[in-house]
């Protein structure tokens, strides 16, 4: 398709400098169509504008085909039992998030394609330096109680989450981003967020990524389980702690009418009984299965697996401040021992993508794909290790969680080939994290360890707490002022090209220093009975069922 200059000029009118710069990038070919859609969505360009610009710039339009799906029926879902009371401010586990996602919604949806999509906010835009973001709310959204949602509810929600007095689980996501008093009402349908520092990825902080940030009525009293009063597509019928929950279609939902009549959530303590129930036809959807537990389902013709790409990974850290890993050549040698394609195929059954020892997974728009991929090279590893003083004994400390113990064994076998004698200390998850403060946590104190990091729509969290010299989860004890500066400028950058440039430097620096090994990023797997359509999971644990059909 040719470029339609007239249409483009028309579409450019009234756009900010950042937005026009992004459009230039698309036309020049510096920004791919995919990257344009992702980054444009963060800057607040609407889906229609994005589609119009890509069309005018000569790209094929994605046809918005949606298969016909029959309304009605009851969707029966198996999930891990929520770990605690269903309370949006404190919820911290995927079981609780699944329940919450039936009834309550955030301003923004962090989609499975990593775009930021409008949910309760219709549009948003930053000021010149990204320190103030303005969100326009969707009109005529009703809570289940019948009350119409407005700016007061949004302000109250974020003030509640940012208040250190509230034991809010969102505090760690909001730290250094948004403080109490930073959320202000402009008019009934407009809210301004005045941030602690410029932040180019802020829409993700108010998206499903920050699962605590569901909008609740301003007069919310803390007893959510009573009626689960949110704006979501389903309304609570009954909730029995530790057993399950039943929901019915919300007839006043602001979006397209939800298809299912009812949703039944059945709670389980483990995956195995859910797998059996899915195979026996007692369940239509299993909210999630880890790949090792789900091998039986991967090849079952009666089961469809929804594979959601995610940035979740098992981070291997090496203490950069003490022997034997103080010398970066030793850290590089360890990383060079791993057969990454083998890990993805063998350990993860192909349900993962290869990582290059930085949190920049391939799917992030800012990731520089021209950085050479680290591959297994035993000769080079041996050379580096010998130059640094040769083999040694070391203990790898980690947690009994998902495939981590098996991964640890593979690392143990791999480094044996270059003369490192590795002992494994695999602990219960609670014991590994300990008190989560240095001196009282194998996670933060061990010479070498493996830690599970869940999915995030942007790499910001992965870049900060686990790697900054001031980071609270810095188990590698990485202390590099150049890195700290690069990350600060990456986070502040509004412009995709500036982000890409910084990302490239961060990737290069981390690959060279190797404080951590990120060998693969694994998919989030949601099995459904064959024939079930329209189930939309997120890698955080949400399960959107308003378009689900049997």
């Amino acid at each position: 398709m040719p470029i339609n200059q007239k249409l483009l000029d028309l579409l450019r009118k009234g756009r900010s400098a950042h937005e026009n710069h992004l459009i230039d990038g698309l036309i020049d070919g510096r920004v791919s169509r995919r990257e344009f859609l992702r980054h444009g969505s963060v800057l607040g360009l609407s889906a229609t504008t994005l589609a119009a610009v890509t069309g005018a710039a000569g790209f094929e339009l994605l046809s918005a085909r949606r298969a016909f799906a029959a309304p009605g029926g009851t969707i029966r879902v198996g999930q891990i039992v929520p770990a605690a009371v269903i309370e949006p401010v404190s919820v911290a586990d995927s079981g609780g998030i699944t329940v919450l996602s039936q009834v309550a919604e955030t301003l923004v949806l962090s989609g499975s394609d990593l775009t930021a999509q409008p949910l309760l906010a219709e549009s948003w835009f930053p000021n010149e330096d990204g320190s103030v973001w303005t969100f326009k709310l969707r009109p005529n959204v009703k809570f289940h109680s019948g009350k119409v949602m407005n700016a007061d509810d949004v302000v109250a929600t974020f003030e509640r989450l940012a208040d250190p007095e509230n034991a809010s689980n969102a505090l760690s996501a909001l730290k250094g981003v948004l403080s109490k008093g930073g959320t202000r009402k402009v008019d009934d349908l407009t809210v301004e967020f005045h941030l602690d520092a410029p932040n180019g990825g802020f829409p993700y902080t108010v998206s499903t990524d920050n699962y605590n940030a569901v909008i609740l009525p301003a007069d919310y009293d803390g007893d959510f389980e009573k009626d689960m009063n949110g704006t979501g597509p389903f309304k609570l019928v009954s909730y029995t702690p530790k057993v399950g929950a039943v929901f019915e279609r919300n007839p006043d939902y602001w979006g397209d009418a939800p298809l299912p009549d009812r949703i039944e959530l059945h709670f389980y303590d483990d995956y195995q009984p859910q797998i059996l129930a899915l195979q026996a036809g007692d369940l239509d959807v299993m909210q999630q299965v880890p790949v090792l537990q789900g091998i039986a389902l991967l090849h079952d013709p009666n089961v469809t697996i929804i594979s959601t790409p995610s940035s979740a990974h098992q981070q291997v850290h090496m203490r950069t401040d003490s022997a034997p890993f103080a010398d970066k050549r030793v850290r590089q040698a360890v990383a060079l021992c791993l057969d990454r394609p083998g890990l993805v195929q063998g350990l993860m059954q192909g349900k993962a993508v290869i990582g290059n020892d930085s949190p920049f997974m391939p799917a992030f728009p800012a990731t520089d794909h021209s950085i050479p991929q680290r591959e297994k090279d035993l000769a080079k590893a041996k050379e580096l290790l010998d130059a640094a003083g040769g083999g040694f004994e070391v203990t790898l400390t980690t947690e009994k969680y998902l495939e981590i113990p098996q991964y640890a064994q593979l690392i143990q076998a791999a480094v044996r080939e270059i003369g490192i004698d590795m002992k494994l200390n695999i602990m219960d998850q609670g014991a590994y994290y300990g008190e989560a403060v240095p001196g009282n946590s194998p996670w933060l104190d061990s010479v070498m360890g493996i830690t599970d990091y869940g999915h995030r729509g942007v790499p910001n969290v992965f870049l900060q707490a686990p790697l900054l010299s001031t980071g609270t989860w810095n188990s590698a004890h990485f202390n590099n002022s150049e890195y700290d500066t690069l990350v600060a400028s990456y986070i502040a950058a509004l412009d995709l090209e500036a982000q890409k440039e910084t990302a490239s430097k961060i990737q290069t620096l981390l690959l060279d220093e190797t404080p951590i090994i990120d060998a693969y990023f694994y998919d989030y797997l949601t099995p459904t009975k064959a024939g079930v359509t329209g189930v939309e999971p997120t890698a955080m644990g949400h399960l959107f069922l308003q378009r689900a059909s049997l």
């Binding site: 586990d93 250190p164 007095e165 505090l171 989560a436």
Partner: protein, 297 residues
Amino acid sequence: MLVFAGARLLPGDVGRAMLGPFADPAAVATLNHQLGTDRPLLVQYVDWIGDFVTGDLGQSYSYRAPVAQFLWPALLNSAKLALVAFCMVVPLGILGGVMGALYRDRAIDRILSVTGMVATVVPEFVSGLVLLLIFAVWLHWFPLSATAPADAGVLTQFYHLILPSIPLVLILFGYIARMTRTGMIEALDADYTRTAILKGLPRATVIRRHVLRNALLPTISVISTQTVYLIGGLVVIEILFRYQGIGSLIYTAANKKDFPILQAGIMSIGVLFTIMTILADLLYAALNPRIRFGGDG
């Protein structure tokens, strides 16, 4: 006090366990303050024991609801499952033991003791899984879950509990049968049995009135201790069959440091153990006149 101290000795603090390792320290501190878990242990203990003796079990930390709301249904569920398993395994085990003793060292005895031994060493998650695959997933004869619908009658509830009981029957059958067999053989060889037979009593009467009565004494103490296992030690079965029993209640409470539930659960198992031991002693006495009359005969 032991229960209280034992529970609190678990490493880690409550707020951290609830909010996870990645939560902000300020949020953890606030939560600990709200729950009262930042107070000195002695104060917490006095508080807890004071409420406990007045029948107030307190509030669950993680579910923010009264402990009683979880404890009583879980105990009742466990009692139901134990009852079904008990009703199956006790007659079967005793019958197996009696048969083994009567046909000592013959084929039937060998088969019974070998299958009993094999069944005892198969872990319940293996036998449970195999049973589920065959009878629930493939044949659809039994439901997958031990939990019956909320409004189900006694028969439906019983139907849901049959499959989960079988692994327990398998584990206990060999044990009970072996105890009964040993007791029986001892009693069969005893002088009073020979006397009774020589007196000309019919064989069935001898076995019923003289042999069984003496042979079952050790079996009773075994059964009484195993009943507590049947009620409190079934975490694996409860998880596999999706059943809300006291075993998994205690297990998850320990994992999440939900001390009020953990303490109430362990205390109730302790009380149950005491009751079962007393019951067994009473039954023992009823069957054994020597103990009933002061133990001088």
